[in-house]
Amino acid sequence: MQKPAPPLVQLEGVAKRFGAVRALEGVNLSVPAGSCVGLVGHNGAGKSTLMNVLAGTLRPDEGRVAVSGHDLSGSWGVAAAAGQGIRCVFQELSLCPNLSVAENARIMHPALRGLGWRKRAAALIAERLDAIFPRHGIDPDAIVGDLSIARRQMVEIARAFSVSDRPARLVILDEPTSSLDAVLAAQLLAYVRRFVAEGGAVALISHLLGEILSTADRVVVMRDGGVVADRPAGEFTRKNLIEAMGSVAHEDAGDARANRARTGEPVVSAAPEGQTDDRRLTLHRGEIVGLAGLGGHGQTAMLRRIFDGAGGRVRDVTVRGKTGFVAGDRQADGVFPLWSIGKNLTVASLRALRGGGLIQPAAERIMAEDWRQKIGIRTPDVKNPILSLSGGNQQKVLFARALGSDADIILMDDPMRGVDIGTKQEVYGMLRAEADRGRSFLWYTTEMDELRHCDHVYVFREGRIAAELSRAELSEEKVLQSSFDAAA
């Protein structure tokens, strides 16, 4: 009674190296029961590595791991962590796409076996989905690969919170809202507070500082593999949090450029497949046009339609110029996982790197090296495999691929997923500079802040353009209203 209860999980002096890269150095972290710890830091600061250590998927090279006061450093691993009720929602989605939602729940719960396990698995996951995301509309028998990326993420989150004979005492959420729209994200964060109030613990990683400040009890700031600040959330503001992360704090909401007149022939003109009225999406030279709305309401389909249209394969879509694509679903449409960083970066520009019908390795290397510095890809050598990079840095490579190519029109499919604030600011600046040079951008984003960088915004709902807003008309309220209300 005199001694306070030991924290649920305590890491002491944890260090982890990957070859020459020191991912973690002497990190201390304690997660008490009944609290939410927020974790922030730049891409490559070591957040994901730390979470992997916590989840048991990585063994630390040095340091101590204790759960409820018991030292488990010797036997720490996936099994030990799972046995202690530690769950993790990884940044890269980790469901089996060929299995149904219920079958994926079974993978996590060995107790779901014997007669009627399907029904029990379906009930278990449906109950948790209902609790976290009311009116989610996900069928437990649906095959995961057929679901949208947002729904897959919802299933994975619900699975992490589900309880069978294995308890859920600490749930680690690594960028859980990156694929969710504002409504779903709010539902999740509200559920996190309820879970914590009932005595559970949550470790939350997010690049959206607002989420961290509103949800976490304590905030841990990481930089270069170490913890640089660990204080109650109340002591942080957006501003000093950004300062603690070590990035220059400039929170400008887009530059205050005058509204440009939309004149001349558009470079892209297209209508969504199911558009009932005569609204069309148009993009003019040098513009940044945003596609807004809730996640999965036809924005990605629209981008793909335009991309296909550039090949002249789609009726009712005209595209003047070459198109490039920046994927948001990195694993599915983005990286070549077995290739090096350099090869991933230059693949869209191979024609320009040719000499006598062959690729010139020297030119390839120069281009990769050039972009590594320009966009700040954190790697000692562009010959390293792409998967050696953190998620945000992989995304930078995809940006470099599109910006480095000769495409005039660049389509971006929610490209800032899992990218830290500092990088975002750099990329915003780069987009603006490229637009001024005559490139045009179509940008699907789920974040309001990013829409402020656009010259013109189309709000999508149920596969159709529901509203068209110029820069002057743009407001969060209007976007939300058009996202939800048919009458808007």
Binding site: S94, C96, N98, L99, E103, N104, I107, P110
Partner: protein
């Protein structure tokens, strides 16, 4: 609604193909529409179905078995010799074969070897062993095995009942049981299975072991039908079994397989051969024509998948 329809057409496609082929055979040769006719048409389907299911287990974990044909031949040779003359030794040899299959699965996973190379190598081992066991075609299958393959079932030939039973048993084991979900998950996202605390090496051992077991059943049913063995008897099973899995709705990667589809695929391939004979097609062209049928079915599937994707 459209996607619902497309999804069900996709699942039903293998069965539809079989029905169309069967109808075409019946139209051209109405006498095939009898007990004896069906038996003649389909009696070689059962060994192919077993081999296809064996291949399916391997494909389910994202690997490929290029040795299954030679292995089936080896089993047939043992079945026509040792199993008849010295059953104890024969059973031990066959059990050893299944264990070797499981060990190969472990080796492929443990060392990260390409399964195509390892199983191709193993195919020479099996062929060599088969020739050692039975240097020239001949031998004699045990009487009980011949009798088992000649069982006369009411209404429809035994092959059909056995194929249905095979499809249902494997469907239950792989698609409905709780460990089956884990086995298939290993083909879909191995990392996720590992993070949930399952042993991937054990899964590979189980799947390759099952492939060995069903390959064994293929060899025994084959030798029961032909009554004598030959080391080269089943070499074409390797490609037939792969084609059967794909025809039945399976995919090479991602753990997407269907046991019912695989059995139907095997029967479709068997029927396609008979169908082409009925067409009086020159045997030289038959293999090519079989390939064309395969390509047509797969093209149809791609078309359906695309409709489905568009509707989603």
């Amino acid at each position: 609604m459209q996607s619902f329809l497309a999804r069900h057409i996709r699942i039903a496609l293998p069965a539809l193909c079989l029905a169309v082929l069967l109808a075409a055979v019946f139209v051209m040769q109405p006498r095939a529409m009898s007990y004896v006719g069906l038996n003649l048409l389909l009696n070689l389907a059962l060994p192919i179905a077993f081999a296809t299911v064996a291949q399916m287990f391997v494909i389910a974990v994202g690997e490929l078995d290029l040795g299954i044909g030679a292995y089936v031949g080896f089993v047939a040779c043992v079945g026509a010799t040792w199993l008849n003359t010295d059953p104890a030794v024969g059973v031990l040899m066959l059990a050893g074969g299944v264990l070797v299959y499981a060990a190969v699965g472990a080796l492929i996973f443990w060392r990260g070897l390409p399964s195509i190379v390892v199983t191709l190598g193993m195919s020479f081992v099996w062929l060599g062993l088969a020739i050692l066991v039975l240097p020239t075609p001949g031998g004699k299958a045990p009487d009980w095995l011949q009798a088992a393959m000649k069982v006369k079932t009411p209404l429809l030939p035994m092959t059909i009942f056995a194929s249905v039973a095979l499809a249902l048993v494997v469907h239950w084991g792989l698609m409905r049981s709780s460990y089956g979900a884990v086995l298939r998950g290993a083909g879909g996202n191995p990392r996720s299975i590992e993070r949930a605390g399952w042993s991937l090496i054990k899964i590979h051992v189980v799947m390759f072991g099952l492939a060995g077991l069903f390959g064994l059943l293929a060899g025994l049913s084959l030798v029961g039908l032909t009554t004598s063995g030959d080391a080269n008897i089943a070499l074409r099973y390797t490609l037939l079994s792969i084609a059967g899995v794909i025809l039945g709705g399976g995919e090479f990667t991602g753990g997407r397989v269907s046991p019912v589809g695989a059995v139907i695929g095997a029967m479709t391939l068997t029927l396609a051969a008979s169908f082409l004979s009925f067409l009086r097609l020159d045997p030289d062209w038959q293999i090519g024509a079989q390939g064309v049928i395969l390509i047509l079915v797969l093209a149809l599937r791609v078309l359906i998948n695309r409709t489905e994707a568009r509707a989603a």
